[in-house]
């Protein structure tokens, strides 16, 4: 595992852990009680910080470079993964991965956004921002899943759909819109896991599910805090203020009926323990999948329709 990457608000923890390292490097055995004391101090501090994260801090956790990405979930939770490439029209978008795999031995279709960790991979994955061909690949796999009666599991983690010239020319809006319409009519179970950044339409385009699960420190909103700040205050640095206004945290969103369950993260965030995080997500998926398997194809379509149909707050 790579070296720990601390977030700004983890400074107190970083300092304590540095001190522990120093003491350890001295190798003195009489230091061990002091180390133990510091260690428990770290744990308490971490609990305290992560129990009280602001929305802006959650956005930082959601974007953490070591947060588990789709391929990490696939590695921990699925077997026999065979990645399938391309939209059969233009190309293969590396910001979305997908393919056939087994979950608890059962064949499924798994699709998700994919980010990169080092500079080279970040560029290769286009920072997790898909072009239209990514969404069209996803749709091809969704429709294949329907054809062979396989449940669909998606992992959502993107800053948003890529805003580029080529993306516009090849119909970014059309690709997203078509996915929304077609996902609504799929006759197989769809489980959506929001694992990091749920960035607007670029996230929603693979997120029309019967069940939507969300990791504890993930965010999901109509626009990024920075984008919102740029529009409202003409100042992209007011992300903190915008994050509070947008209320993008899982705890905000569950109140509005947009998600079905919050999946807990290890203390200190998902990036600290991939095994624990992916297993927690896996057991939630297992539970919901078992429920959905009891439903007929017609019931699945109607259940999904009514779920999104009800997402309204207004005065009548």
């Amino acid at each position: 595992m790579a070296a720990t990457v601390y977030m700004e608000f983890e400074k107190p923890i970083a300092e304590l852990e540095k001190k522990i390292e120093e003491l350890r490097s001295l190798g003195a055995s009489e230091m061990s009680t002091e180390i133990d004391a510091l260690q428990s101090c770290v744990e308490t501090k971490r609990q305290e910080i992560f129990n009280n994260l602001s929305r802006w801090q959650k956005a930082q956790v959601a974007r953490h470079i070591n947060r588990p990405f789709t391929l990490d979930y696939i590695q921990h939770l699925f077997t026999d993964f065979n990645e399938l490439h391309g939209d059969r029209n233009f190309g293969d978008d590396h910001a979305i991965v997908g393919g056939l795999a087994r979950f608890d031995g059962q064949p499924v279709m798994v699709v998700g956004h994919q980010k990169g960790r080092d500079t080279k991979e970040k560029v290769f994955r286009n920072f997790g921002m898909p072009n239209p061909e990514g969404y069209r690949k996803a749709l091809r796999l969704f429709q294949m899943a329907e054809q062979f009666n396989l449940p669909i599991i998606t992992f959502v983690d993107t800053p948003g759909a890529y805003p580029g010239i080529g993306a516009e020319e090849r119909g970014q809006a059309e690709a997203i819109a078509r996915n929304l319409r077609e996902m609504a009519s799929l006759t197989v179970p769809i489980i959506v896991c929001i694992t990091g950044e749920g960035g607007s339409g670029g996230a929603l385009a693979i997120a029309v599910g019967n069940r939507v699960l969300m990791l504890e420190h993930s965010v999901y909103a109509v626009i990024s805090p920075e984008g919102c700040a740029a529009i409202l205050w003409s100042d992209g640095t007011k992300g903190q203020q915008a994050a509070e206004a947008l209320k993008p945290a899982a705890q905000d969103i569950i109140e509005l009926g947009v998600i079905d369950e919050i999946v807990h993260e290890p203390v200190g965030g998902a990036h600290r323990d991939h095994e624990a995080t992916t297993q927690a997500m896996g057991s939630a998926i297992r539970r919901h999948l078992a429920e959905l398997k009891e439903m007929t194809p017609e019931q699945l379509v109607e259940d999904r329709y009514q779920k999104f149909r009800a997402m309204t707050r207004m005065a009548e």
Binding site: A161, Y162, P163, G164, I165, A167, E168, E169, R170, G171, Q172, A173, E174, I176, A177, R178, L180, R181, E182, A184, S185, S200, G201, L204, A205, V208, Y220, A221, V222, I223, G227, C228, I231, L232, W233, A245, L246, K247, P248, D252, I253, L256, V258, R304, Y305, F308, R309, M311, T312, R313, M314, A315, E316
Partner: protein, 282 residues
């Protein structure tokens, strides 16, 4: 007060920002630079009689130009947005809603009606760009969904005439969900074999483009309308390049296969009448 309504934005900027509906006696057209009687433009559905430049037009005026006898029945006019997130920027969302509603006109950014086009009864949802930039929150999504559901129930075609900056930030995640809600309703309309026509007018961007506005059996654009997913400014900042000439304009979308046709506002009623008749086998 000057006799001439000056085009403050200038020719260059007219690419990204349309000149407001003129109030003065004379208007200098951003399309052809001619000075025209404002009344002459108004009588021509806000289209320049010299060069065909399309000014923005009020939704009810547009409805009059499309529907038989200029009449219709409105639905769901009483639905009003609420500030359920307590959203505040320079003003609170509630304050914005209240002041916009108080200005008269609509209670939200879309008007939903039933009317006939060349004797074909049709459900029409039309955006009011003057209401918070035509942005889509719960009310807009709900009203459009109800229009589609009325089309299903009455076996009528559905038309949405878009003019929108996209999803409404002040309702955050629920605005986003309107994209899924409206698109899911269109899936039902499609399965029922009923036509959906999307008319894209200046400007149609963001979450509106990335949902129902791009899902027409026919996508029809007005000339030179700005139509896109991401705003031009966002794209420029991301790629740090100048955008090509005519980028995200109707003609550019036609070239790239994203719209079926570009139709002048003056021809819209006739075109709709013809295609609706054929699609409904009349």
């Amino acid at each position: 007060m000057s006799w001439f309504k000056r085009d403050k934005t200038g020719i260059e900027k007219s690419n990204t920002k349309h000149v407001k509906v003129p109030e003065g006696l004379w208007t200098k057209c951003p399309g052809c630079s001619e000075s025209l009687l404002t009344q002459e433009i108004e009588e021509n559905l806000q289209v320049c009689p010299k060069c065909g430049h399309h000014y923005r037009i009020a939704p009810r005026k547009r409805l009059q130009s499309i529907l038989d006898n200029g009449t219709w029945q409105e639905f769901d006019a009483e639905l009003t947005s609420v500030d359920f997130l307590d959203f505040k920027d320079t003003k609170s969302y509630q304050e914005r809603i209240n002041t916009t509603v108080a200005k008269g006109g609509s209670r939200d950014a879309v008007i939903c009606v039933e009317g006939s086009i060349k004797e074909i009864a049709t459900q029409i949802a039309i955006f009011d760009f003057a209401f918070m930039g035509g942005s889509m929150g719960s009310v807009v999504g709900e009203k459009i969904t109800r229009s589609i559901e009325r089309g299903l129930e009455k076996k009528q075609p559905v038309i949405v005439i878009s003019a929108s900056g996209g999803a409404r930030m002040q309702e955050s995640i629920l605005s986003l969900m309107q994209m899924a809600k409206t698109s899911a309703a269109l899936a039902k309309l499609k399965a029922a074999g009923l036509p959906f026509i999307s008319i894209l007018t200046d400007p149609t961007t963001g979450g509106v483009t990335a949902s129902f506005a791009m899902l027409g059996d026919l996508n029809i654009a007005e000339p030179k309308a700005l139509i896109g997913f991401a705003g031009p400014r966002v794209i420029e900042q991301t790629i740090r390049q100048k955008l090509p000439a005519g980028f995200q304009r109707s003609e550019y979308l036609l070239d790239h296969g994203m719209v079926d046709m570009i139709v002048s506002r003056l021809e819209m009623r006739d075109t709709l009448g013809q295609v609706l008749a054929m699609l409904t086998r009349q």
